[in-house]
Amino acid sequence: MRNGTKMLLLTAIVLAGAACLLFRGAEGTNAAPALAATDSGAPAAMVLFPVSNQPNSGAMGMKPVVFNHKLHESTVQECESCHHTGDPVACSSCHTVEGKKDGNFVTLDRAMHADNIIQRKGARTPQSCVSCHEKRYTERRECSGCHAVVTPKRDAAWCAVCHTGVEGMSATQTADALAGKMDPDVNEALAQQAVDSKKPVQYADPGAMALKVKIGTLVDKYEANVFNHARHVNSIMKRISGDKLAQAFHSTRETLCQTCHHHSPASVTPPKCVSCHAPGIDKQNPGRPPLKAAYHLQCMGCHDGMNVKRPAKTDCTGCHKERVAQKGGSK
């Protein structure tokens, strides 16, 4: 099985190399302007400003969103996924800050963020940005492991992933945009500049982390488990390496670490599990799993989410070797 995976990987690498050689010229031209014309003819990128029913509400609660239309178009494929009426118009033409009749009084906020959308019967169920992103990270295997354990916290950093604002936009341009009078070409140019300047976060180097971790909590019954830390980290990083959604939302270099090393400040040298999870009952924190359960809940939670079939959850010796009797271990 493992050999098979290796073979597949090797083949993939070879093919990728060949593709690189073949299309080097094309890639070279792509590098400078990241955005070319979209298939649909829509602007490749745009800055989304809140649109109000009032002529100029003046206030703007959130920073505007830079939306990479080309990227979304190529990933989602179907225009109707987002343009749910079938008419490819701007979201804010129906969904305004206050909501209006054309949009069935669904506000702009809900149209972008709703994650509890009722399934329509016999008609297309509209999606919001958030609901579609959620679906992607819960349905795809490479994401669903960690995201079975971790639900993204909706804090300021989470908002700031999309609500980036545009650097170098003048006050008059902002006022124009809020009044809905910004020239689409200027808008696209600003957005393109923001998209180009955006660089994905470099994850922490797996080589600098623990390679193997020896877990000996159950040594009275089983041999200590040697957890291959590096293999787990590498495998996850490799699986999501090309994923734009992951790149956008995994916004710090330690984000990936925080699935397992949760609740402690993000760090490449996090505290050990036992610092918080006592081996026995913890009277101060009755809801906190003891050490043994903490390990099992994390390992199995992720494996479950990724639909890892082996080792079976009930097969103790799949991870912990049975302790040999003559070694003097108590039964």
Partner: protein, 369 residues
């Protein structure tokens, strides 16, 4: 006293008796119950979303309680497929259920009710709710009627059917001996997933609520056992249906169909089972107090009837004897008139002898004079 009056009397008497009897089963004062009875009592929260069906709890239970070795080893998880019940030899079992198409495992054992139905049904008072939260069984007075097994809404107690002499009821003891030594119950300690969380019942309810609140997609918003059957020390959290509509919080009617798939009944109500039966069962000991009156009355009536019969008989005999004496006198007088005094004396004597001989013969045959 007519029938209606008698029943009314019995009813009111039973209420009075029940008030006295309930003190054994419910430490609270008779009257309105308030929960929990023992605020410091312990419980266990069984989170079925965490249970993987490894049967370590069954194994631990078997070892710490020195139960007989089962036919199949505890590593064989295929037995979870059948809906097993707890028995005298298995105080806890883990069964596999299918909830909305997904396998969910649930551990079955005594729920250690706040106000146990088994205790209310037992007329030998074998069951007691302990301040630590456990429901204890003391078999010294057990008569083997198995009313407790019928009363239990969770079918927890098992009976030693293969025990020829003094078979007893057997059920989870909440590992009382271990609790007394400040140790966790065997199953809780063995659980690798913390699917069983031990703690004060009041804390566990908070823990359960926190888990539901932090993961509303994952959990059904219902703590089974918080109020069911009047509240139980062991409580169960169930997974939510990911595709179905969201069940509103703490709604037994709407959570019912979900929990039914997990073999849990939400129709037990939030009233302790015992409260339904204390009145009627409280009258049972009172029947014993009726016995002297009942049997004394029957005895007195029989005696009286006997005395009346005897008096009647004596009267008849006396009358008959008086008749005979009068006839003898008349005969003797007639003889005296016709035959003279000597003949009369002889006749009287002869007749007296004849009567005496007849009486003697009758006495010899056992007849009363």
């Amino acid at each position: 006293m007519n029938r209606r009056k008698f029943l009314a009397f019995l009813g009111s008497a039973s209420v009075v008796t029940a008030a006295g009897v309930t003190t054994t089963a419910t430490p609270a004062k008779a009257g309105v119950h308030t929960f929990p009875y023992y605020p410091e009592s312990y419980g266990v929260l069984h989170d079925t979303t965490r249970c993987v069906g490894c049967r370590r709890c069954e194994q631990a239970c078997n070892i710490v309680n020195k139960l007989p070795k089962p036919e199949k080893p505890f590593t064989d998880t295929s037995v979870c497929e059948t809906r097993r019940r707890t028995s005298a030899k298995q105080w806890t079992v883990v069964n596999k259920y299918t909830m909305n198409g997904k396998p969910v495992f649930r551990k079955l054992q005594c729920f250690h009710c706040n106000d146990p139905a088994c205790a209310s049904a037992c007329f030998a008072k074998c069951f007691t709710k302990q301040p630590d939260g456990s429901v204890q069984y003391d078999g010294t007075q057990c008569v083997g009627c198995r009313y407790c097994m019928i009363a239990c809404p969770f079918y927890a107690p098992g009976f030693q059917y293969d025990e020829a002499w003094d078979p007893l009821v057997q059920k989870c003891t909440f590992c009382k001996p271990r609790l007394d030594k400040n140790e966790l119950p065997g199953c809780v300690e063995a659980c690798p997933m913390e699917a069983l969380t031990f703690g004060r019942r009041t804390d566990l309810i908070k823990v359960a609520r926190a888990r539901i609140a932090s993961n509303p997609e994952k959990y059904l918003d219902y703590i089974y056992g918080e109020h069911d059957a009047g509240g139980t020390a062991w409580m169960v959290l169930a997974p939510a249906n990911p595709k179905g509509p969201k069940v509103p919080p703490e709604n037994p009617a709407l959570a019912g169909p979900e929990l039914k798939q997990l073999g849990l009944d939400t129709h037990l109500g939030n009233q302790p089972m015992g409260e339904l039966t204390y009145g009627a069962l409280g009258a049972v000991p009172m029947i014993v107090s009726f016995w002297p009156v009942l049997f004394g009355g029957a005895w007195a009536m029989t005696k009286r009837r006997e005395a009346m019969y005897k008096a009647e008989q004596e009267k008849t005999v006396r009358e008959a004897r008086e008749d005979v004496t009068a006839a003898v006198d008349a005969v003797v007088r007639k003889i005296q008139e016709t035959e003279g005094d000597g003949a009369a004396d002889r006749a009287r004597k002869a007749m007296a002898e004849a009567l005496k001989a007849r009486d003697d013969a009758a006495a010899k045959h056992g007849e009363d004079a």
